[in-house]
Structure formats: structure tokens, C-alpha cells
């Protein structure tokens, strides 16, 4: 608390936050309430502090005590729940990497944060997946049937082996012509002449970064299902041992990882981390690179990039 020129107490942001969390002392509380009822400026500050507090909760910035008090004493009105919902939406929309206090995140909360499969978008997506699976099954069945037919034809058609004995002239009437052998081989399976399409490899060079940066490199996603995004992770030092690279989303969800990668040196030590393009979507990503140092995992560096 700070005293202003008119000898009235100017409440600090910390005092306002303590009021919202129900932590004012018995002597502070009545004076604060009285001022809140008579001063519009304090009213306005408390309203903004509510938003700030909801944001800090959504971003996992509260300490353990504040976190508990927030749930027990703050989030008790519909208005505040709406504020928290907007804070969470802002975090989802803008935060590059906001690991909400892992120790506090319960298993139930993690389950809740999973995608909601009752959304119409998910229903359509499942419909499409089932349709593709059905089509795939039909295609495999048709292909198998034709192969089976070929196999049957190959196994049970009469063999055209040469006759071991030469037919004696006496056994045959002289004027009779020798039966002509119809050399009509069974049709060969049609060979697929179309050349296999080469996957596109998009290469992006990344340097270690301490935190997500708005200037993080961007990648234009290739569209092919076989395409690869090669992330060239620059190393400060090429140390012996194998590396592990893990690709994570902005909210620290693991997407893909590769073990036992070896570094190579072309003037600059680096790791090539190949990620199948279909695993990537538009958004921000981070890579955690660790090294296997005689059985112990050692964090080497983090890298950040954005997919457009």
C-alpha cells in the first residue's frame, strides 16, 4: 500500500490481488471494502485485476497457494468463469509455449484437455476416415482376388514340358500330320508402368534458441503424404554419442521423436531430424534435442519454428 498526496491510501496491485484471493488481513478488509464502494477508480482497478488474475491462472503463472485460493475463493461467480474461459482461449490462440504447472495438472485435467470428439468437425473427420478405410479394404480385397486368380492359373494349368521320348514313326500313320502345339502362354500380369513419385524433402536450418521467438523460421508445408520436412539442427559442439530429437507442439504435446541420431559435420556440426510432413499442421513447434551421454540423458538445446 502507498499513501498518495491526499493522505488516502493508494492500494498497490498486490493488495488488490490479495483482496481478490481473500487474503487481506482482518484489519485491511473493511477499509478496502469501504473504499471499493466509494471510489470508482479502485473499482476500475479491481475489475482489471480480475482479468489479470484469470490470465495468470490460465497461463499457469500462479504459485501453489494462489492457485488453490483462486479455485477456492475467486472462481465462484459466473462472470469470473466467463473471464477465465476467455483467458484460456487467448492462451490457446496466442501462447507460443505455455507449460501450465505440470505438477498441478491432474490426470483428469489432462483428459479434459483432449480434443472433444462430439464436435461436428470431429464427426465429419471420423466419417471421412471410415470411408477411406472402407475404400482401402475394398481395394485390398480386389487386388488379392486378382492375385489369387493368377496364383491358381500358375499352379494348376497343364505344364508344357518337353516329351522325353521321340515318337516312333511306326506308331503313327505316315500321312498324319503331327499335332500342332498351341503355344499360347497365359497372359502375364500387367506391370504398373507409372513411375513412383519421389517424396519432396523441405530442408529448414534451425539454430538453438532459449525461448520461442517471433522471428522463428517458417516452413511452407509440402502437401504430399510421403513428403518430409528435414530440420537441420545446428549444434554448438559436436560431441560423441547419439542424439534424440523430439518434436512438440506449442503446448508441449509430443508429436514425433527420433532416437539414436548421429551428428555430422560439414564445417558446422548438425543433426538432421526428418519429420513426415503429414504430421505437421499450421502452428508453432519446438524441438527438444537431448544426447545420450553414457546412459544418461543430457538436454542439448531447444529449437523453435513455425509451420505456415
Amino acid at each position: 500500500m502507498v499513501e498518495d498526496r491526499n493522505n488516502a491510501i493508494e492500494y498497490s496491485d498486490d493488495t488488490i490481488r490479495r483482496f481478490l484471493l481473500g487474503r487481506l488481513s482482518a484489519s485491511e478488509q473493511p477499509a478496502f471494502e469501504q473504499r471499493l464502494f466509494s471510489e470508482d477508480s479502485l473499482d476500475a482497478r479491481v475489475r482489471l485485476a480480475e482479468l489479470d488474475l484469470a490470465d495468470d491462472y490460465a497461463y499457469g503463472r500462479l504459485n501453489h497457494t494462489e492457485h488453490e485460493l483462486f479455485e477456492e475463493k475467486f472462481i465462484v461467480t459466473a462472470d469470473r468463469r466467463r473471464k477465465l474461459e476467455v483467458s484460456r482461449t487467448l492462451r490457446k490462440r496466442f501462447a507460443i509455449a505455455a507449460p501450465v504447472g505440470k505438477s498441478r495438472t491432474s490426470f483428469i485435467e489432462r483428459l479434459r484437455s483432449l480434443p472433444h470428439f462430439n464436435r461436428p468437425a470431429w464427426r465429419y473427420a471420423f466419417g471421412v476416415v471410415i470411408f477411406i478405410l472402407l475404400m482401402g479394404t475394398v481395394w485390398v480385397a480386389v487386388k488379392r482376388e486378382s492375385r489369387l486368380k493368377e496364383e491358381i492359373t500358375r499352379r494348376f494349368s497343364p505344364r508344357r514340358s518337353p516329351t522325353p521320348t521321340v515318337p516312333l514313326e511306326s506308331n503313327h500313320p505316315g500321312n498324319s500330320s503331327a499335332p500342332e502345339h498351341q503355344a499360347s502362354p497365359s497372359p502375364m500380369p500387367v506391370h504398373d508402368q507409372s513411375a513412383p513419385t519421389q517424396p519432396t524433402v523441405v530442408v529448414v536450418a534451425l539454430t538453438p534458441a532459449v525461448s520461442p521467438d517471433s522471428d522463428a523460421p517458417s516452413v511452407d508445408l509440402p502437401k504430399g503424404s510421403q513428403d518430409i520436412v528435414r530440420l537441420q539442427l545446428a549444434l554448438k559442439v559436436n560431441e560423441p554419442g547419439s542424439y534424440r530429437a523430439e518434436l512438440l507442439t506449442a503446448d508441449a504435446q509430443s508429436v514425433f521423436s527420433t532416437e539414436s541420431i548421429k551428428a555430422w559435420d560439414s564445417g558446422q556440426a548438425q543433426i538432421d531430424f526428418d519429420v513426415p510432413a503429414p504430421l505437421l499442421k499450421t502452428g508453432n513447434y519446438q524441438i527438444r534435442l537431448s544426447r545420450d551421454n553414457a546412459g544418461a540423458k543430457e538436454n542439448v538445446a531447444n529449437y523453435y519454428f513455425r509451420v505456415r
Partner: protein, 188 residues
């Protein structure tokens, strides 16, 4: 709170009289009413009440019923009168048996989706500078918050506390805009 008092429903005339007592202009009276209610809720929540909205409404109902008796004689800040009545309501609340807190409604995926869509709409309504500030301000994660805010404040040539205030005012506008958008969506 006695059951008789709890069950008594506020009459429309009593409520109209309350608004008239707060301000002759109905629009202004409505604003004062909302402000008083918000302050009551904030104080009751700070005192640890599990149902501050219910107690704030009970306080307002009691004041409304008394307006007819006090309107000619009461002198002073009218809002402060509510504070006195609220203390009585709170005192009675403390004597009630402690009820378990109602579980919060389950996360509704569709509601989240709607909030997200409304956020996009409301962001589009912001001035480019405000939008940029919000994008930067809310991009910071747990560790980078202070560094990033220092950088934004330096870029704008303002102090961190001014930046916080500006960002929160825009955030407040967004909140109002999103709530209005959600109400409109619900009506459709």
C-alpha cells in the same frame, strides 16, 4: 436468513422504486445498480462466500423492500447503505450450515469453439495497434513473460505498468465483445 425472508419474492414496484431512488434517469440507475451488484459480489467472494451472487441479490432485494421507508430520510452515499445491509446478510450466511460447493459444469467443447470464433471476430474489430499489442502481450509464456513485456514496453516507449494497463483495457474490451457475441450466437 429465515425461510420466510428467503421465499419472499421482490415485487416489480419495489424494484422500480429502488432504481428511481438510485437515479431518476432509468439508464443511469441501471448502471449504478450493476456497479453496486458487482461490488457486493466482489466483496462477498473475497470474504469466502461460496454463493456471492445469491447473497448480493438477497442484499439488493432487502434494500429494495426498505426504500419506501428510507427514501425521504436517508442522507449520504446510497451505495454505502447496501454495504450495511450486505453485512447483515453475510452474518446470517455464516450461521447457515456449510453446503458443499456445486460442481462446475463440464467443459463444453462446442462452447469453447464458439468462444474461439467470437474471439476471432472481436480481434478483427480491434484497431491494428491494439491487436498487435494483445498478440504480443499474450504470447509470453511463464518464463518469458517479464522479458517479453519489457521488450514490448521498450518498443512502445512506455513503462511496464502502463503497458499492463493498456493491455488489460483492451482485454476488457475483448471480454465485453466476446460476451456480447456469445449472447448473440445463443439467440440465433
Amino acid at each position: 436468513m429465515s425461510p420466510a425472508k428467503t421465499l419472499r419474492i421482490l415485487k416489480q414496484e419495489e424494484f422500480d422504486l429502488l432504481l428511481k431512488w438510485l437515479a431518476p434517469d432509468p439508464g443511469l440507475a441501471g448502471l449504478i445498480y450493476e456497479k453496486i451488484r458487482w461490488r457486493l459480489v466482489a466483496i462477498l467472494a473475497s470474504r469466502g462466500c461460496t454463493c456471492p451472487e445469491e447473497l448480493a441479490d438477497e442484499t439488493i432485494d432487502r434494500v429494495a423492500r426498505r426504500v419506501i421507508e428510507i427514501q425521504d430520510s436517508y442522507v449520504g452515499e446510497k451505495a454505502i447503505y447496501f454495504l450495511g445491509v450486505m453485512n447483515n446478510v453475510h452474518h446470517e450466511y455464516l450461521k447457515r450450515p456449510v453446503l458443499p460447493r456445486l460442481p462446475e459444469p463440464d467443459d463444453d467443447g462446442e462452447a469453447k469453439e464458439r468462444t474461439h470464433l467470437c474471439l476471432e471476430k472481436c480481434l478483427d474489430k480491434l484497431a491494428p495497434n491494439s491487436r498487435r499489442m494483445i498478440e504480443q502481450y499474450y504470447a509470453a509464456d511463464k518464463r518469458a513473460k517479464i522479458d517479453l513485456r519489457k521488450r514490448i514496453a521498450a518498443e512502445l516507449g512506455i513503462g511496464i505498468s502502463t503497458l499492463r494497463l493498456r493491455a488489460l483495457r483492451i482485454r476488457d474490451k475483448l471480454q465485453t465483445c466476446i460476451e456480447q457475441c456469445l449472447m448473440l450466437e445463443a439467440r440465433l
